[in-house]
């Protein structure tokens, strides 16, 4: 018979177990980072996969986010004659919030899911056991390069999304809606501070770490063949995305206070 108390209890235990497991994997990853051999080739390969190959999707996301922000902002500002603030609003929304969050969510969907699927497949086909049997630490070999690739590349992709997004906003605001270019840029320079940009990048660092650890953890603990890998991949994307959004609120309240 379905017992709601038992179900809540089981869910809570699983939640604590998973969070503990991810925290342990994070600490292990940090500790193993400084242990030779340094796998630079693997790191570069992962940076290419996480970073370079995510460029197009991040550019498109940034571009259309900036364009739609300008369009929506213009609609609101026009009601009280505040169109001159459009450039600043688009830039602030992007560098503080949408740049890091949307970039991380896109990288989670593209690379975080691939991390879970690839490591999960290696788990169910005993390739991870084979690494251990050959006296190679699987976390050192598989997780450390992916973790640092995400931590380094997500901020870079965020910068790209910010720049392209502002360009998109400029195109819609200045070219299509005929706001004065000088005012658009001047207000943006006046109201956007360096701290807005750096805090946005701090967020990107953290989100990169979250998506890599969640993706690797879910793959590493996948069980039960193809179905298990599919489940691990789905859970990785869902958990990383929710964690990024929750983390975003916490970081915003801490950093921009």
């Amino acid at each position: 018979m379905y017992n709601p108390v038992a179900a809540v209890g089981a869910f809570s235990i699983r939640l604590v177990e998973e969070m503990g497991g991810m925290a342990l994997m994070f600490l292990k990853t940090l500790a193993l980072t400084f242990k030779p051999p340094y796998r630079i080739r693997l790191l570069i390969k992962q940076m290419e996969f996480v970073g370079v190959k995510s460029t197009l999707v991040v550019v498109l996301t940034g571009l259309f986010s900036g364009m739609v922000l300008a369009l929506e902002g213009y609609y609101g500002f026009r009601k009280f004659g505040g169109e001159s603030l459009l450039g600043a609003t688009v830039a602030l929304s992007l560098v503080r919030e949408l740049g890091p969050v949307l970039t991380s969510l896109m990288v989670t969907a593209r690379a975080g899911s691939a991390m879970a699927a690839e490591i999960g497949t290696m788990r169910v086909t005993e390739q991870i056991d084979a690494l251990s049997a050959m006296a190679v630490n699987p976390v050192h070999y598989l997780v450390v390069p992916r973790f640092w690739a995400a931590v380094l590349m997500v901020p870079l992709l965020t910068v790209l999304a910010d720049v392209v997004g502002i360009a998109g906003g400029y195109f819609v605001g200045v070219i299509l809606l005929h706001i004065d270019a000088g005012i658009f840029v001047a207000k943006m320079r006046e109201l956007v501070e360096l701290v807005d940009i750096t805090n946005g990048l701090y967020k990107a660092f953290v989100f990169g770490a979250i998506l890599a650890i969640v993706g690797c953890f879910k793959g590493y603990n996948a069980r039960g063949g193809a179905e298990g890998v599919g489940k691990a991949t789905t859970e990785a994307v869902v958990i990383a995305s929710i964690s990024i959004l929750i983390g975003d609120y916490i970081l915003t309240s801490l950093l921009f206070d």
Binding site: M122, T125, E126, Q127, D129, A130, S132, A133, A135, N137
Partner: protein, 247 residues
């Protein structure tokens, strides 16, 4: 020598090993046999420290591996080679890169020396022509041979085989069995083979142990096993496929 003492392992409520006691002699081929799902692979993974027992000990040359730290286990594992059931080749690397992997990780050999060693190991298993192929391009038997070449790359003292002949045609089974025997002889290896392949076991084993319901119920030389009076062992070694009996 490997000595397993009173080994227990449960997964949740399912007790898989219930006090396994077994001695695996040095420089010999020992088969661990039993029905599918009796914990043979679980036992093998304990021997190389991939699983930790709930109770009991495993001594490798007098050293209790159940008490070793992760770092000490890594050191010990360099003395082992393991052939996994499906090969467990890294599917992002070519066959040659797979065999080179442990050499690149654990030796200071030059690329030229590694290449020479890889070619020698692949030639030993008759797979030199597949050196540049990806694992996905190989048949089941070729995968097992490539995995064996990788397991032997570091010239281990002990090699563990998880179902080396399962899923192969009879000729390939014979070829793999012959390869195990020849390799063992050539390098004086200690081999532990998990299998339910009775003809192969009788052909190449020095010792056979039967695992049933979580314990070793019978062990001895192939001759002793053939004459065993234990009902399970008798039925196991004389069993024929069901369809065959009905016919």
């Amino acid at each position: 020598m490997i000595k397993i003492v009173n080994l227990h392992k449960a997964f949740g409520a399912q007790e898989v090993l219930r006090g396994v006691n077994l001695e695996i002699p040095k420089g010999k081929i020992t088969f661990i046999m039993g029905r599918s799902g009796t914990g043979k692979s679980v036992l093998l993974k304990h021997i190389i420290g991939l699983l930790t027992p709930d109770r009991g000990h495993i001594f490798v040359d007098g050293e209790d591996i159940t008490r070793l730290s992760e770092r000490e286990l890594m050191r010990l594992r360099k003395r082992f080679g393991m052939l996994f059931q499906e090969g467990a080749l890294f599917d992002s690397l070519t066959v040659g890169e797979n065999v080179a992997f442990p050499l690149r990780e654990h030796t200071k050999l030059s690329e030229k020396e590694i290449q020479a060693r890889v070619e020698a190991k692949l030639a030993q298993v008759g797979l030199l022509e597949a050196i540049d192929k990806m694992p996905a391009e190989l048949s089941g038997g070729m995968k097992k041979r490539a995995a064996l070449a990788r397991a032997l790359a570091l010239d281990p003292e002990i090699v563990l085989f998880d179902e080396p002949t399962t899923g192969l045609d009879p000729l390939m089974q014979e070829s793999i069995a012959r390869l195990i025997k020849e390799t063992q002889k050539a390098h004086d290896l200690t081999c532990v083979v998990i299998s339910h392949d009775v003809p192969v076991a009788f052909a190449i084993a020095d010792k056979i142990a039967f695992l049933h319901e979580g314990v070793v119920i019978e062990e001895g030389s192939p001759e002793e096993i053939k004459n065993s009076q234990h009902p399970f062992v008798k039925s196991f070694i004389r069993a024929l496929p069901t369809g065959f009996k009905e016919a």
